[in-house]
């Protein structure tokens, strides 16, 4: 423990070693490969997620090349284009964002920020990673089977997803996708149990729920949501697998394909949509809530000011989590459902804007008159706020049934969800990596490369996605392989597409610089020390950096205050760590 005068150590009962017996690795394999240490698992999760994310990034380049220069790259035919779309979407949403926020940051930060030695069920935690890796490998195997991966779109709507007209529809592609999802969900459940129960039971002395950093609140709430929402995707995947392999008719209606009547009959494609979006909408917030939490901590630390409205922030996280379970059908306005349902779901959707807006106000008010340090994590946090507001505002358009109907299935929707759930969370992920990299490795990421990375990524993302809104308003449909000469694709729109493609390639190149920075700084980065950002939360107070297995050495930290004591009037420094008690009584005792 740091900063506690040694004279009072005797009066504090020695924080005994956790009753969870720590697993002690005996060999190189159990230390770095089959590790049960949450920090190693976090790094494994993150590296796997980033690797498969790179595949998705390359797929987006290929799609953009086709849209910017149709017909020029002959190897991108219509089938491949749909396969690229599908894999890009699925990988980014589930295998990158969900896995990185919960499996990566969750594993690294939950035990450290709460003052625990490890997760409560380390063995299940390890299994969680290996199932995730298996899921990723099964997914990637889709590229190598005859017929290629599925091209059904990331929503995998039946009946088209399992018909022969869809790429990968009657071959291995769709099977591998469904099996991979099932494996991912089983693996995630094992990890998710750990994240939830560690928050419930693993906190250090004095770490009450209302003293937890907002990062933990975000990850905790998102995990609870994911545990309840992912079963819907599981059920949908299993039932679709039955329809495909065993010939049942859960989702498949009577259908004539290529002149032959299929065996199926009576199934309900809408049923699939309900199940899928019952998972799919909470998924948006499963990604967003950890981002909300992390960005709150980044802003508070780098503006040297306590978070504005902490309680309100916690309540907003919980309320957003709860509301997100009753809005799913706003993805189905054009599915022909009862208009009264549309009214109900539009109302709940728009109500979510209230707690979300509270959060945005509180971030801005935290910045207000703060001692803002424009460090790279802060730049990304600011980038997030702006992007999230932009994406959120177009969400208000799409949440209204009458506005959504003409905009549905246009590039406007693509622009909206990429801003709000693509660019915005990715901004937070970058900010978080720049922020916590010094704790993970002991070295800072290079500043100049970081700034180039930020500005190219931030400005580039806007140059990519702002024009897409305009294309959408023109009527340019999404998911089309090629628009040709049409009213929705005038020459000016085509020039715009070329521009977007060039920007996409540029932003992609900036990510290569980021990856180089990650590797280069391991060796050549500036020595960081234990607490380079002078932050209050517990992970920065570990006795050694990077923290060893067990995190805390002999004694667990004791928590005396909340996580946001920055610039406290009268304090000798502009931050007071969470494990530092109020010295008043001690100094008074000494004086007497």
């Amino acid at each position: 423990m740091v900063n506690i005068p040694s004279s009072i150590d005797d009066t504090v009962p020695a924080a005994e070693v956790e009753d969870v017996e720590l697993y002690h690795p005996h060999s190189w394999w159990t230390t770095y490969v089959f590790s049960q240490d949450a920090k190693v698992i976090a790094i494994q999760y993150s590296l796997t997620a980033i690797s498969i994310g790179l595949v998705a990034l390359v797929l987006s380049w290929l799609m953009r090349l086709q849209l910017g220069f149709p017909g020029y790259f002959t190897f991108i035919d219509a089938d491949r284009y749909y396969q690229f779309i599908t894999m890009h979407g699925m990988i980014m949403v589930i295998y990158l964002l969900t896995a990185l926020f919960l499996g990566g940051f969750g594993n690294y930060l939950i035990p450290l920020m709460l003052g625990a030695r490890d997760m409560v069920f380390p063995y299940a935690n390890m299994l969680s990673y290996w199932l995730y890796l298996l899921a990723v490998l099964v997914l990637a195997a889709g590229f190598f089977v005859p017929g290629g991966p599925t091209g059904a779109g990331w929503t995998l709507y039946p009946p088209q997803a399992i018909l022969s007209g869809t790429p990968g529809g009657q071959s291995g592609g769709i099977i591998l996708m469904l099996v991979s999802l099932i494996l991912f969900i089983i693996g995630f459940t094992m990890g998710g149990l750990n994240y939830v129960v560690t928050v419930l039971q693993g906190r250090a002395r004095g770490m009450t729920l209302m003293r937890m950093p907002l990062t933990i609140w975000g990850i905790f709430t998102a995990t609870v949501m994911a545990l309840l929402a992912f079963p819907a995707l599981f059920v949908a995947s299993v039932m679709m697998l039955f329809d495909l392999v065993l010939g049942t008719s859960f989702f498949m209606p009577a259908i004539v394909e290529m002149g032959t009547q299929l065996q199926h009959g009576g199934g309900s494609p809408i049923l699939f949509q309900h199940l899928f979006w019952f998972f799919g909408h909470p998924e948006v917030y499963i990604v967003a809530l950890p981002a909300f939490g992390i960005v709150s901590d980044l802003i508070s630390t780098h503006a040297r000011k306590n978070i504005f409205g902490y309680r309100m922030m916690v309540w907003a996280i919980v309320i957003i989590g709860a509301l997100s379970f009753i809005v799913w059908a706003h993805h189905m306005y054009v599915s022909g459902m009862n208009p009264n349902f549309g009214f109900f779901f539009a109302t709940t959707t728009l109500i979510i804007a209230v707690p979300t807006a509270i959060k945005v106000y509180n971030w801005v008010l935290t910045l207000w008159r703060g001692d803002i340090h424009l460090t790279i994590p802060m730049l990304f946090a600011l980038g997030f706020i702006v992007t999230f507001v932009n994406g959120g505002l177009t969400g208000l358009f799409l949440g209204n049934v009458v506005v959504d109907v003409p905009l549905s299935d246009t590039m406007f929707v693509v622009a909206h969800f990429h801003m709000v759930m693509g660019v915005a969370p990715i901004m937070v992920i970058f900010g978080a990596i720049y922020h916590w990299y010094p704790k993970i490795t002991g070295r800072m990421l290079d500043e100049i490369m970081g700034r180039i990375h930020f500005w190219v990524t931030f400005l580039g993302a806007y140059l990519i996605f702002f024009p897409m809104h305009y294309l959408g308003l023109l009527g340019a449909p999404r998911r089309y392989y090629e628009l040709g000469e049409s009213a929705v694709n005038p020459p000016s729109a085509h020039d715009l597409n070329v521009f977007i493609t060039l920007m996409a390639l540029t932003v992609g190149a900036a990510q290569m610089l980021f990856l180089f920075n990650l590797v280069w700084s391991l060796r050549h980065g500036k020595e960081a020390g234990g607490n380079p950002w002078r932050a209050t939360t517990l992970e920065w107070q570990t006795p050694t950096t990077p923290p060893p297995h067990g995190n805390w050495g002999k004694e667990l930290p004791v928590v005396y205050r909340w996580a946001y004591d920055y610039s406290v009037p009268g304090a000798p420094q502009d931050f007071i760590p969470q494990n530092q008690p109020n010295p008043d009584r001690l100094s008074m005792e000494n004086a007497s």
């Binding site: 149990l193 129960v197 906190r203 049942t248 009576g266």
Partner: protein, 234 residues
């Protein structure tokens, strides 16, 4: 999705009840501990493993509720005709009940440190659990022989799918239960296996409850409930 919304409402009640006890209205910025204070652990006295199992059972509950939701929604289509309930399922239900009672007994005996009875009760629970699974397979065979095959009708498909999923969960439980039983028969003291026995009993009671709901569903007793839900939604 009405069944799932009801389930979620239940979960929401539990979460709200829990959160109400967590002093969410406290003002953490005013509450700084003094040097020399010894703040307490702020966690539940219930064993961590039990809480873990509780959370897991909520996930399993969500899974089966979603299957049931899908069942109700698919039921509305005309091509549906209910599957007959083989008499064997009544026997299986009884066997699973016996299994659950046996494990409850094992739990009580573990608390009383009665190793002998506990060991026998555990074994009885294990054997009846296996018998239940075998019985389910025989019920499947009976139905298939009578011509009710998987892909013929959505009711059949759901029956095989959901009972299969339940069977898989029982199978997973049997793995844990056999490890516990083995530990008890190898002579571990009752206080060493007490927690494992409690966890097994908890899981078993839950799977019994799930089975009873599924049984009511397949037997058609839940149809009135479905009608009410449908009226609520239209």
């Amino acid at each position: 999705m009405s069944a799932m919304l009801i389930f979620l409402a239940g979960i929401a009640v539990v979460i709200t009840w829990w959160m109400a006890q967590q002093r969410l209205t406290s003002k953490p910025w005013l509450e700084v501990g003094n040097a020399g204070d010894a703040p307490r652990y702020d966690r539940s006295p219930i064993a961590t493993a039990k809480i873990g199992l509780g959370v897991f059972l909520a996930v399993v509950g969500a899974l089966f509720t979603l299957f049931i939701s899908a069942y109700f929604m698919r039921m509305g289509v005309e091509d549906w005709w209910a599957i007959p309930i083989p008499g064997l399922l009544w026997v299986n239900t009884g066997v699973l009940m016996v299994s659950s009672i046996a494990l409850q007994r094992a739990k009580t005996e573990a608390h009383k440190n009665q190793t002998g009875v506990m060991k026998i009760a555990l074994l009885a629970g294990l054997v009846t659990g296996v018998v239940f699974l075998v019985g389910q397979v025989f019920a499947w065979r009976e139905l298939t022989r009578a011509g009710y095959v998987l892909a013929d009708n959505p009711a059949n498909s759901f029956f095989y799918l959901i009972t299969g999923m339940h069977g898989l969960h029982i199978l997973g439980g049997l793995v844990a239960l056999s490890r516990t039983t083995l530990k008890a028969w190898e002579g571990a003291r009752p206080d060493r296996v007490r927690l494992s026995v409690e966890l097994c009993a908890m899981y078993w009671h839950f799977m019994l409850l799930v089975w009873l709901i599924l049984f009511a569903l397949f037997a058609g007793w839940a149809n009135d409930f479905v009608d009410i839900c449908r009226q609520l939604l239209t």
